[in-house]
Amino acid sequence: MARSASSARAALRNLLPRLVLSPSVALIAIFVYGFIAFTSYLSFSDSRMLPSYGWVGLSNYEKLFSLRTWDIALNNLAVFGILYIAICCVLGLMLAILLDQRIRAEGFIRTIYLYPMALSFIVTGVAWKWFLDPGIGLEAVMHDWGWTSFKFDWIKNRDMAIYTVVIAAVWQTSGFVMATFLAGLRGIDAEMLRAAEVDGASTFALYRRIVIPQLRPAFLSAFVVLAHMAIKSYDLVVALTNGGPGTATEVPATFMYSYTFTRNQMGIGAASAEIMLLTIAAVIVPYLWSELREKR
Amino acid sequence: MGFLDIDNVTKSYGSVQVLNSTQIEVEEGEFLVLVGPSGCGKSTLLNMIAGLEKVSDGEIRINGTRVNEVRPADRNIAMVFQSYALYPNMTVRGNISFGMEMHGVPKPEREAKIAEVAELLQITHLLDRKPGQLSGGQRQRVAMGRALTRYPDVFLFDEPLSNLDAKLRVDMRTEIKKLHQKLGTTIVYVTHDQIEALTLSTRIAVMFGGDVQQLGTPQEIYDNPANMFVAGFMGSPAMNLLPARLLRQDGVMCAGLKLADGSEVLLPFPRAEGLDRYAGREIVLGIRPEAMTDPEGADRDSPALAQVDLPVDVVEPAGSDTFVTVSLGGRDAIGRFRAHTQARAGHPARFAFDMAKAVAFDPKTEARLA
């Protein structure tokens, strides 16, 4: 009797760690993977205002890709994503290299470059929305200062509005990319750099031939973060342009929200969420796979 | 049956067996050292005795009781880790007290015990410091102090000296030996350092490739290594292992060793008298540097001293001794000469071989023949 009680206690002791982990695993299983499955199912259903379980096959996807708004949203995502990632990387790398020149007050400058990252995209959106507003912002200021021919109305211009989203987003995250690259630069073996200097490499050659190629991991992680932020970006667009003028700055994230919750086209909304997930997974899964495999 | 029985114990991870069936009986009060290169299975065996790793097969008994399923805390063991594993957030006092607290020892008793152990290890003045403020040797003492509070049946040491510098290591080695003599507790001690093994132990298990190669007293292991691995691993400089030929010459068993110029030197080898079936065959002659010395430094009582002139390749003075290298059987052989030897590189010197201390190995099985 005593033996079986103590062996039961031993069994519990062996199970305890997994028991402690299990609530989290259950939550993730239901609320991440279960919900993904549920939304996937809805994307094949005739759901409109409320979830409904009539199977309609691929028709939501067909409708989705025939919608002009979705077309605009995808185009915008492509323009925004490419410019956002490219500019952030170039600017971030440049700032990191500039800051790596044994700058006095480096910590202070770094703090200034990085602080926007602590802000909500809504705050960023509000600040840039009014700053770029031709009626009161930059344009009005220039007029007031006497440059009356100055014109900067991108935020009100259907063709240019998406670029204002790029401007605000770059402002917010380029400091973070700078920090990533700076950490990468600091991780490079100083003796190797000294050796290259002894070999007679100029500063330019040093960076181009030796330093930047070694920043590959930093590039990769910056790319992954930026790509997935670009695809998820919702708050900034809402606060800055609210998808407008018209539908000029619609992106998949705002599209999904409005089709699901305001236009009562839940099936199409679910299908658009599904496309977003697949796009992100295409970037993330290979990355996670290689990261975790190396760790083993 | 011993006090600590390791009975046919094996360990495998998946399909990989890291410890083959191992049988060791440790008597109460013994100081057993498990020694071997990294990956030999010594730490795995220690961790299984501690209960930190599961036994794949076989049985471990402490004081006659099977402990395979007993959790570490209930085995009445204490362990000193390589990194000392002191809790960085607690003071020295807290570190020593923690185990007693976990076992429900009342506070006054804990205090008394801490004072006693601290006194024994001379760390009383350190009790209120954090581990981060201690030197390596002090941490080592605290780790031992923590283990000492338990009156354990068995003390386990996992390479406790390997993080110390050379000088301190020698000092702490002596202290551990003193402690064992004073307390008389059974100790199992893992190290990769053969000198530690020889100086500390009452018995040594030399391990390699998941097997115990030889289990015996330090003397047995040093004088009569069971195979070429043990011969090469134990002792520094290592035993010379020289390809040789066994032959009977004028009715006496001799070992023939090739010199660099192609000639052969014959050394009478009385220990090989029983090995007639090996006569005329290749063997490996094992001879320790101190059995290959200048005639003046040789053991005059040896029953089998053979003197030969050999051309010297290298002379390395090392303070108390001088090491002299010659080519024998196609290998470099090192002899230990007295400090003020006249031997000079490029010139012949007279060697005295104490063949009573030489051993012979089978070159194929690597096992000792004589």
Binding site: Y113, F131, T180, A239, I284 | -
Partner: protein, 285 residues
């Protein structure tokens, strides 16, 4: 080593200074314009310092402006955000610490796979869970409530907190855990007495990361809150986007600063940990 000031060095500093202006300009615009009367802004004086300093926009944003149905200012929503953030951060951090502890110190077959599956939760676009989550909150009776938001943030924060603690504890010496086991400490005692007291830095990193993320969240707030349970970001957006009446830019800027202050404050006092969190959060695994 001091470097002589050459032409190159001077232009380097000039360039760095220019970028400082670029990053600080929006903050300057927000602060300066939150302290001036509306007509100074509408007459094209956005870049100028206030000529008539006033705290009225701040007062208005805090307690008078019309955000929802009533003219309450942002104050109740600020409170909502606080009431949401504090428990969500505490619960998530604790769960992440326990998960990291199990995943590194009590390893079992398949633990890396489980970690990978948990980790993927850091990356999903939350749009994919909006519909079922809205239904689930309804079923649990939590829709439109602050506890409902806490629930959502805890679930989708676990992935991050687990990542932080797992990576931290992976570098924590396992021998300490083994020593404590031999000393007789059990699973929770080891966690409480050995791991937790040595988790200060990573706990700060994790708390800051979660605090910033949850405070700044907009999507969940907009999807799952009612008028009276809106967090600060949603209320700010409503204030700014409301199409009725005159646009009080100065009030908007004051409100934006209020929404930014808590995270900015954390960033300024604990920037080191904030950056570390960002880095770990980006270099996953």
């Amino acid at each position: 080593m001091s470097i002589p000031l050459s032409f190159g060095r001077i232009s380097l500093y000039l360039l760095l200074g220019l970028f400082c202006i670029y990053y600080l300009l929006p903050l300057y615009v927000m602060v300066a314009n939150s302290l001036k009367p509306l007509d100074e802004i509408t007459s094209g004086g956005m870049m100028a310092l206030p000529s008539d300093w006033t705290l009225a926009p701040w007062r208005s944003a805090w307690s008078e402006a019309q955000v929802g149905v009533e003219a309450t200012g942002l104050r109740p929503y600020f409170t909502n955000s606080l009431v949401m953030v504090v428990p969500a951060v505490m619960i998530t951090t604790l769960m992440g610490a326990l998960n990291g502890y199990v995943l590194t110190k009590w390893r079992f077959r398949g633990d890396t796979l489980i970690f990978g599956l948990i980790l993927f939760g850091c990356f999903i676009p939350f749009q994919i869970v909006l519909i079922p989550m809205a239904r689930t909150l309804g079923l649990l009776g939590l829709s439109g409530t602050v506890p409902g938001l806490v629930f959502v943030h805890v679930i989708y924060g676990i992935s991050f907190s687990t990542l932080y603690f797992r990576n931290y504890y992976a570098a924590f010496p396992t021998e300490l855990v083994r020593a404590a086991e031999i000393d007789g400490a059990g699973f929770f005692t080891i966690f409480r007495r050995i791991l937790l007291p040595n988790s200060g830095p990573i706990a700060v990193v994790c708390v800051i990361w979660l605090f910033t993320n949850i405070w700044n969240d907009f999507l969940f707030g907009a999807s799952f809150s009612d008028f009276d349970s809106q967090p600060m970001t949603v209320a700010l957006n409503n204030l700014v986007q409301s199409s009725t009446g005159v646009k009080e830019y100065n009030v908007h800027f004051a409100g934006a600063i209020m929404a930014a202050l808590p995270t900015l404050f954390v960033y300024v006092v604990a920037g080191r940990f904030f950056v570390r969190g960002l880095m770990t959060g980006s270099v996953k695994g």
